[in-house]
Amino acid sequence: MTRLSAFLLGVWEFIVGDDWRAALGVVLALALTALLATTSIAAWWVMPVAVVGLLALSIRRAAR
């Protein structure tokens, strides 16, 4: 493994951790929040709903 690939792997593990789906879900939820914030619809509720769903799914995967 080259130094660059080792560094990139380290950054990935540091930021994303062991559940990339949860990290991706956070990014998508923030994007949806930003999208809704440009409309007249309230956007604050997206993150709480996303957190409950992402955590439940992540625990379900880990508990299997």
Partner: protein, 256 residues
């Protein structure tokens, strides 16, 4: 001091105390569960970075894209927080091994002695989280001082009120450090997961352009809400305690 000046000082004091408490929460969490020296290193580095930014930009600071900073820091905190919370929930429910810290310490110390290294090293995780928390909240304190102070033509008074708020919060944090060290490890990690998830959700949504009902006061509902959710998840998936294995150093590869 006139009534207007008193109102300015009180407003800045309260607003900056809230920001300082948010930063303190992150630093205390990292220091208690990971490494005090690395967490304080992050605080020091953030203070230096903050001083450099203020010196370089001065009043032009108010034009910095705070929304982008919030969404980036909030998103990362939320990702970290979900990892911590998931592992703490699984441990509390008996589905994941708890750390045997003494066995881990002895194995690591033995390995370090064999390599001729010191067992306790730099913890990049504690450093980075503390750095980001203090830098973001520090920038918000500077914004508050500049906006309130410039509007009322009393930047000096606003800065003094902000400084007093930060000093009082730091003193409260120093007093809380010893009692926190006696809290069981997984309980503390559970609390850290709740705090990182709550602040990450709050900052991330604000940075993305959402407005929380009640502004900063929404945290008073978000933090207990995340805590209740975590406890409910533990109850839902809990196994009897005798099935919980003990994790030794060789198996202990988790971050949180």
């Amino acid at each position: 001091m006139s009534g207007t000046e008193f109102g300015l000082a009180l407003s800045v004091f309260l607003a900056c105390a809230v920001e300082a408490v948010e930063a303190l929460t992150i630093v205390l969490a990292m220091g208690t569960t990971r490494s005090w020296s690395s967490a304080m290193g992050g605080v020091g580095a953030a203070t230096v970075a903050l001083a450099a930014i203020v010196a370089a930009l001065g009043p032009a600071l108010t034009s910095l894209p705070i929304g982008i900073l919030r969404v980036a820091v909030g998103g990362l905190l939320l990702i970290f927080g979900l990892q911590w919370l998931r592992k703490a929930i699984l441990r509390a429910a008996g589905l994941k091994a708890k750390h045997d810290e003494i066995a881990i310490y002895e194995e690591e110390a033995e390995a370090a002695r064999a390599l001729g290294a010191t067992p306790a090293g730099f913890d990049g995780y504690a450093f980075t989280i503390s750095f980001k928390g203090v830098l973001l909240e520090g920038l918000e304190v500077v914004f508050i001082v500049l906006t309130f102070g410039t509007n009322q033509h009393h930047v000096g008074l606003a800065a003094a009120a902000a400084g007093l708020a930060v000093l009082i919060v730091i003193a409260a944090g120093a007093a809380a450090r010893a009692p926190l060290a006696r809290v069981p490890e997984n309980t503390m990690k559970f609390s850290v997961g709740v705090m990182l998830t709550s602040f990450g959700m709050f900052w991330g949504a604000e940075g993305a352009g959402a407005s929380w009902p009640g502004g900063d006061a929404a945290l008073l509902a978000i933090v207990p809400g995340v805590l209740l959710m975590g406890v409910a998840m533990v109850k839902l998936i809990a196994r009897p305690p005798q099935q919980t294995p003990i994790e030794t150093g060789e198996q202990a590869t988790v971050t949180a």
